[in-house]
């Protein structure tokens, strides 16, 4: 489904650097006033890993993404992104750090007063460090990756939900992020469009080795990512170790399960069983 022209990501890290986790949550808790939202959350992602976040509505999954992006600061604990502790960075330093992280929001969050071109090129236009031709070329390249080059002149309101999600992913990819965060990218989409989005995520994981944290309510999307790879322009079944994809289930503000697709599917706990069913 997707085009052949994948955007380039950051240069491949050295072997030693590949061992270093790029995203670390170390006993992270978050409260809004008296209400505790996350409690002692700890996990880490190495370069190229994908973690799928599951949990009931209101379990704190989206909040976790915002913590990774520095949009929220933890009440206690540490969030380390590419070796930098997010909670200690100034707002200006956070803006620089976010250059290496892309996010696709739940509702796409496209700027409704800007065209697709300006949405995708937003960060480059704001920085003003590249020529108009260079920005246009990059915008077309990432739009081609999500197969939406023809929509470059359109406004967000003219796009379907699935197209908006793809533009949102293209916008996140424009500055070649090392980490991608996806907040329910297939929520509210029909199965065909949802599979298209999942294939995009898989392409980024397998071709560009982008580290990903994905929130989803659709278990089938998670299991598709955990059991398949993108190979020669097609989905292909693969063993779990080849997909570098694992699951994390939140319950009552805490991590209830952290492990592979196989472990999740065969977990004896009644809550996990009922969640999977």
């Amino acid at each position: 489904m997707a085009g052949d022209m994948a955007p380039q990501t950051q240069a491949a890290p050295a072997a030693t650097a590949a061992e270093e986790p790029v995203l670390v949550f170390d006993r992270v808790s978050l409260s809004f006033g008296p209400q505790r939202v996350l409690d002692e959350i700890s996990f880490q992602l190495r370069r190229g890993d994908t973690k799928i976040l599951l949990g009931e509505a209101g379990a704190g999954k989206s909040v976790l993404l915002k913590l990774a992006l520095g949009l929220l600061r933890p009440s206690s604990g540490r969030v380390l992104v590419l070796g930098q502790e997010v909670g200690t960075l100034s707002e200006d330093a956070l803006f620089e750090m976010r250059r290496k992280i892309g996010i696709a929001f739940q509702e796409s969050a496209l700027f409704d007063s800007l065209s697709v071109r300006d949405n995708v090129g937003f960060r480059m236009l704001e920085e003003g460090s590249e020529s108009d031709d260079a920005i246009e070329a990059t915008v077309r390249k990432v739009l081609s990756f999500v197969e939406l080059e023809a929509a470059i002149e359109k406004m967000p309101v003219e796009l379907s939900g699935g197209m908006q999600h793809r533009v949102s992913i293209a916008r996140a990819l424009a500055t070649q992020p090392e980490i991608m965060l996806y907040d329910s990218p297939t929520g509210g989409l029909d199965p065909v469009t949802a599979t298209t989005i999942v294939e995009l995520i898989m392409k980024l994981r397998d071709q560009n080795k982008v580290t990903s944290l994905l929130v989803t309510h659709r278990l089938q999307d998670g299991f598709l990512l955990a059991t398949h790879v993108w190979e020669d322009g097609h989905l292909a079944p693969a063993p779990p170790e080849a997909t570098h994809t694992s699951f994390l289930l939140l319950r009552d503000r805490k991590i209830f399960f952290d492990g592979s697709a196989h472990d999740l599917q065969h977990h004896p706990d009644p809550y996990v069983r009922s969640f999977l069913d």
């Binding site: 992006l69 949009l71 976010r98 929001f105 509702e107 969050a109 700027f111 704001e126 920085e127």
Partner: protein, 267 residues
């Protein structure tokens, strides 16, 4: 009397909660305002956004400001001439119209009109961006929303409020002139001569400082409520209403404070 004690405790808790909420709002408002001011001298400068907002606020508000100013002047001439005629001082109509407009009514009415139109507009536009995560997206894409959205609106509102007030003052005097000459039959030269002669430098200064203060209030209050909107479309509606109410009340209160201060300085 356990019931009375419980009721007293409940009232005390409610008061304490209200006070905490008020202090928190003040703290957030001050922080956001300070950030908007700091950004005036911080790169990058969003001149394009600022000129766009000047157009939306200045040119967009022109019709209501012209109409409000004109008919305020006309109705003042109508009311004042009736009173002045009983003392045989109808020739002073122009003086009273211009003095009232330049010192008080021009700045206050213009600001209330601009608050109704633009504080509401800012709160609803920014509030919609908040609830659809566009503000988070902007931060995620490395852009400071305060710098790109709040500071241009602040600069545009303050500068445009100044010119809108000048236009409103002129239109008010024109309204008074039309009524005085057409209905009352005053001599046109006498109207304009008395209207302009009565104005001293302190009146003009007072009339031109006030719109700058009111412009700050409209922009900062509108942006504050917009950027802090919560709870979906209902929250945006609530933020819009609150912004207009808060901006209007603050304009009236600050009008008294500024008038007192300026009259104090003027002796």
């Amino acid at each position: 009397m356990p019931e009375v004690d419980a009721a007293t405790t409940g009232v005390g808790d409610a008061m304490s909660g209200w006070l905490k909420g008020l202090l928190q709002t003040l703290q957030e408002f001050t922080e956001q305002s300070a950030r908007a001011f700091r950004n005036i001298v911080a790169r990058p400068f969003y001149w394009g956004d600022t000129f766009l907002q000047m157009n939306l606020i200045g040119v967009g508000s022109l019709p209501i400001v012209v109409l409000t100013g004109f008919f305020t002047g006309a109705v003042m001439a109508l009311q004042l001439s009736a009173t002045l005629s009983t003392y045989g001082q109808i020739g002073r109509t122009g003086q009273l119209v211009s003095l009232s407009l330049v010192r008080e009514l021009g700045p206050v009415l213009t600001s209330l009109m601009v608050a109704g139109r633009n504080a509401a507009g800012m709160a609803s536009e920014l509030g919609s961006m908040v609830v659809t995560e566009q503000i988070d997206a902007m931060r995620a894409l490395g852009t400071d929303p305060s710098k790109k959205l709040v500071t241009p609106r602040l600069l545009a509102t303050v500068s445009m409020m100044f010119f809108l007030t000048v236009i409103s003052d002129f239109c008010g005097m024109l309204g008074g002139f039309v009524y005085s000459t057409v209905v009352i039959g005053l001599d046109p030269t006498q109207y304009w001569y008395s209207a302009i002669q009565i104005l001293g430098m302190d009146d003009v200064v007072q009339g031109l400082i006030k719109p700058l203060v009111f412009g700050l209030i409209v922009a900062l209050v509108g942006c504050y409520y917009g950027m802090n909107a919560r709870g979906g479309t209902q929250g945006v509606g609530r933020a819009t209403t609150q912004s207009v109410v808060a901006a209007s009340v603050l304009i009236i209160v600050s009008d008294f404070v500024v008038s007192r201060l300026l009259m104090g300085f003027g002796g």
